[in-house]
Symmetry: C2
Subunit: 223 residues, 2 copies
DNA sequence: AATTAACGCTTTGTATACAAACAGTCAATG
DNA sequence: CATTGACTGTTTGTATACAAAGCGTTAATT
């Protein structure tokens, strides 16, 4: 794995906590690389907004309540639109992909063990596949490109950390509603259901924002 | 000016044409720098989508008709939303800023000389200030952040290259309509007017897409 | 005692050297 | 004649060395 993805994952999973300073030398040692590739990775992360520039170096970005409100407003707008367009332009193949992702999501939820990192990673991953399948079904690759930067994965990951079994199942049901709307080309319903779904995710993030600053990464988690 | 901005400007103004390969060594000579800072700049431009990765190195991104359609769809969605929110949340100060930008825009249009690069640059610049003033009036800095990446400046620049005096004045009138709607907190009107305005810009780009591949950068333009 | 100047240490920015990967060419072989 | 293989030159990827800029601490002066 290259420097960019390594650092990104570390931020997503909370290994590098919000506010933590990321010195080049430090990262170079951590990844056993020289500073050159590290610097390039940092530049990219900076342009995505995952780290914020300091007077010297960067630190892991910290998101305030207000940030989260605003980011999710943006996300509902874009992903709601994507869902509505997907309903209009989806092919049979798109539908199969969405179904498949959601089936895997369902399986992962059944296997779910509270607060187990690998279990969460799995769920987050299939959830992401579901959303991405819809976004790519809208036939506007530029939406996909930009949404992948709007969706701040650390926040999504945190929201799943706090889901309980019931909430996961509810989220699964909403996924099914969205799928059905897209399948039956009901674009407005798809938009509204997606919008509501994302707002629920936002509420989850906001509800648990203060509880801990860091999700503890367990030993057995690091491969 | 740093490597990133230099290359970006060169792409915007057509000095580096779409499809042109940008080798590190070449850019290093051009900017009289070593490859190290060049590479960092390229990584950033890549993550913004201004250049596309090749098997080896990158080339200046070429936008197809379809790309332009899709990008502008996205832009209307976001900037239409921004205008509607600006209408709801604008302060008196915001209005003054928008007015001021538009006044300068008007002056620049009066001074306009067809196909003169500096004249166009000036107009593009004040137009941008107008749009940015509205976006920042919507009080969601994340929208600003992402819109600045959605709005592909090379395309905007090209569209202005082809505007004639009449079209510029019409665009000015639409600006005034948008301003009025924001001032009177008519959010839906602001959204619709902005959306229409951007679609007009898109039509302009599409209409002249084939005419030339490159806008010739005049000697006296390079400072 | 407080303010500032200067020094040294840490960290980032840039250049250069070297290693690795890729593309194109030419020759050998079926 | 086409296809494959090795060779060569070019370009990117990484490491390291050095330059420049920031920050903290200490010492000197008021």
């Amino acid at each position: 794995m290259d420097a960019y993805n390594y650092i990104k994952e570390a931020i997503i999973h909370g290994k590098y906590e919000p506010g933590m300073r990321l010195g080049e030398e430090f990262l170079a040692k951590e990844l056993k690389l020289s500073r050159t590739p590290i610097r390039e990775a940092i530049k990219q992360l900076e342009s995505e907004g995952l780290v914020t520039p300091l007077k010297r170096g960067v630190s892991v970005r910290h998101f305030t309540r207000e940030d989260i409100q605003q980011i999710y407003d943006l996300r509902t707008l874009l992903e709601g639109y994507a869902a509505s367009q997907a309903a209009l332009h989806r092919t049979e193949e798109d539908i199969q992909k969405i179904k498949k992702a959601n089936a895997r999501y369902e399986e992962a939820i059944e296997r779910y063990q509270e607060k187990d990192m690998n279990s969460i990673k799995e769920i987050v991953n299939f959830n992401q596949q579901f959303h991405e399948a819809i976004i790519s079904a809208c036939k506007n690759p530029h939406i996909y490109f930009h949404l992948s930067k709007v969706v701040v994965v650390p926040l999504v990951f945190r929201s799943f950390y706090w889901y309980n079994s019931f909430e996961l199942k509810r989220s699964l049901e909403v996924h099914k509603t969205i799928l059905l709307a897209i399948q039956s080309q009901d674009s407005e319903r798809a938009r509204v259901a997606m919008t509501e779904h994302i707002y629920q995710g936002r509420d989850q993030v906001l509800a648990h924002l203060d509880e801990i600053k860091k999700i503890h990464v367990l030993k057995e988690d690091s491969q």
